[in-house]
Subunit: 344 residues, 2 copies
């Protein structure tokens, strides 16, 4: 099997995507084709044996082959027309904007390119923290209470500190601040509103335990181990960045079987059918024996490879179970019937 890893793009998490892509080279056993999208949304073919972080930061990637996307895949131009870059499936590894907001999913779907990753609706649902909460509730999974605050209605906030302020639409802890005292509120809101018009405010629960569970559905559900991430108050961008290059398993949670099953049950409720075709990581809290969803990572850092006992099999199984698009037969029956009524 040959996998095309699509990474980079116009995103605050561009660098994280680069690191994530390089990390996968160490763990994927199949052949890899690297499809890079730069900040200007130009595509390049990066030779697998030449990939390293400096190639991108130095701008040297620009010397590699330019690609464009069209029906069926990515193409390079040649003297005698375009040549398809062969791969069996594209893995959408663009974290944050473009990759997780539905744009890349749409392009891959529109051009009929088989891919691993959330579809457009799943992307939009998980990219926006407010929508994630509404969705989780509808699926029967609890989330922390919250308040959504819009830029021009700052005064509507009624939750008491300590609380956590998050831009509604960014991942990787960008723009997130903990407010322990109301004197810190203005600055926290200023920062968050730099990134989004809507901000989510949630109670900050000191010492709450977080549990990360990754998985996908092939014939049946494939789950990772449950990890209890080691963290300070929360992971800031620098630490998450390092986290995204991980290839080693760490800190399995010491949970009883019943709790693990509870987490898996919540995961299933969230996954199906919305996230078909994606390998996602759900970050949960357990509070007073109840499972709460914190967030859904529809494209986890380095695909959360370090959480799986057999990551390669999981990816292979998923590739064989990608959702098919709806068949829409060509039809002009109304136009034809009007034409024939007109005697044309």
């Amino acid at each position: 099997m040959k996998i095309g890893i699509l990474f980079g793009a116009k995103s605050f998490e561009h660098e994280i995507s680069v690191v994530s892509a390089i990390a996968l080279k160490k763990v994927l056993k199949c052949e890899i084709v690297y499809l890079f999208c730069d900040y200007e949304r130009n595509f390049y073919l990066i030779p697998t044996d030449k990939i390293n972080a400096k190639k991108f930061s130095s701008g040297k990637y620009k010397k590699e082959t330019r690609l464009h996307v069209d029906k069926g895949g990515f193409y390079k131009k040649g003297l005698f027309g375009n040549t398809l870059i062969e791969c069996d499936v594209v893995l959408n590894l663009i974290h944050g904007g473009d990759g997780e907001d539905g744009k890349i999913a749409s392009i891959l779907e529109f051009f009929g390119i088989p891919f691993i990753g959330p579809r457009v609706e799943a992307s939009v649902m998980s990219f926006n923290k407010l929508l994630t909460k509404l969705y989780a509730k509808e699926m029967g999974v609890k989330t922390l209470e919250y308040q959504a605050v819009s830029k021009n209605r700052r005064d509507t906030l009624t939750i008491k500190p300590p609380f956590i302020v998050k831009p509604s639409r960014l991942g990787s802890s960008i723009g997130i601040k903990i407010v322990k005292d109301l004197s810190e509120l203005d600055y926290a809101l200023d920062v968050a509103f730099e990134f989004d018009d809507t901000v989510i405010v949630e109670p900050f629960i000191a010492g709450v335990k977080e549990y990360n569970l990754a998985g996908c559905k092939a014939d049946d559900f494939i789950f990772s181990i449950v990890e209890e991430p080691i963290k300070e108050e929360f992971l800031d961008f620098d630490k998450k960045y390092l986290d995204f290059s991980r290839t080693k398993r760490l800190n399995e949670a010491s949970l009883d079987e019943k709790s693990v099953l509870k987490l898996q049950d919540s995961f299933k409720k969230l996954y199906e059918p919305m996230f078909a075709g994606a390998l996602i990581r759900c970050d949960f809290f357990i509070i007073d024996n109840e499972v709460y969803l914190n967030e859904i990572n529809p494209i986890p850092g380095s695909m959360a490879n370090y959480l799986f006992l057999d990551f390669n099999s999981a990816i292979e199984m998923l590739c064989k179970n990608l959702p098919s698009s709806v068949n829409i037969p060509m039809s002009y029956r109304y136009i034809n019937s009007i034409q024939s009524a007109k005697g044309k």
Copy 2:
């Protein structure tokens, strides 16, 4: 001003889009460039003076110039490279799948093509009737009570007839049935599940009045008149099809000023900031003096031109107030700092 009307595509409402596009020729005063997407998602440039419905149903459009989409717009191939098809703004007039589900919005956003139409998140929210309900509630606008039923959980339905059964994700009344007696339920569900895995069931309220209000936000909100659509129980696909070719104003609702303001107020709550850049039509009910959202049409048939006193000005004003994309500065500061720590 030159507007590129993008229509057709792989959608159950492909024909409706064709009719809608042709109708706009009669009402738009600016120059039009017709950008057609066929059922196979190939793009064609259709000369404005040669457009008619038969061109598409007969397949003769295939003789016109092929286009492809790339950064900045639609291009035709030539001996000496690609030529951009000039237009100031693209109007997304693809009804249903592709156009309203976020795919086209994503492609236009990704390639930096200015356009009138819902952005990807707005598309996903309004395309799925369940998400629309969750969103409306969050924005403080009521919707009818409902139950969402998934394909493998038909037995969970508890609402009593008469009710209306709708596939969660299609517009234009496709797959919608009224169930007056439980004996009709199985058939109605079979039909709806042909189109979607999730079905929305809502009480059917005989004689409820529907009010349609279209609008957009430029400097300020521009509203259409309120129409009370003439209808039988509900418009089926055939009648909606004819409806989409409308260019004449019909049946202004006889509502007092207070009620009109109530509808406009609900429209504003739903529109901003989600639908920035789009001209949408909201279909409301008024029951016991309370406004309920029925559905949001993010790309109404022939852009609901017949509802506006001055449709051309509305479009022109909207073109001048399209949302700009977020600026994301190129940054490799983490990779650079790691490289420099390594002494590279």
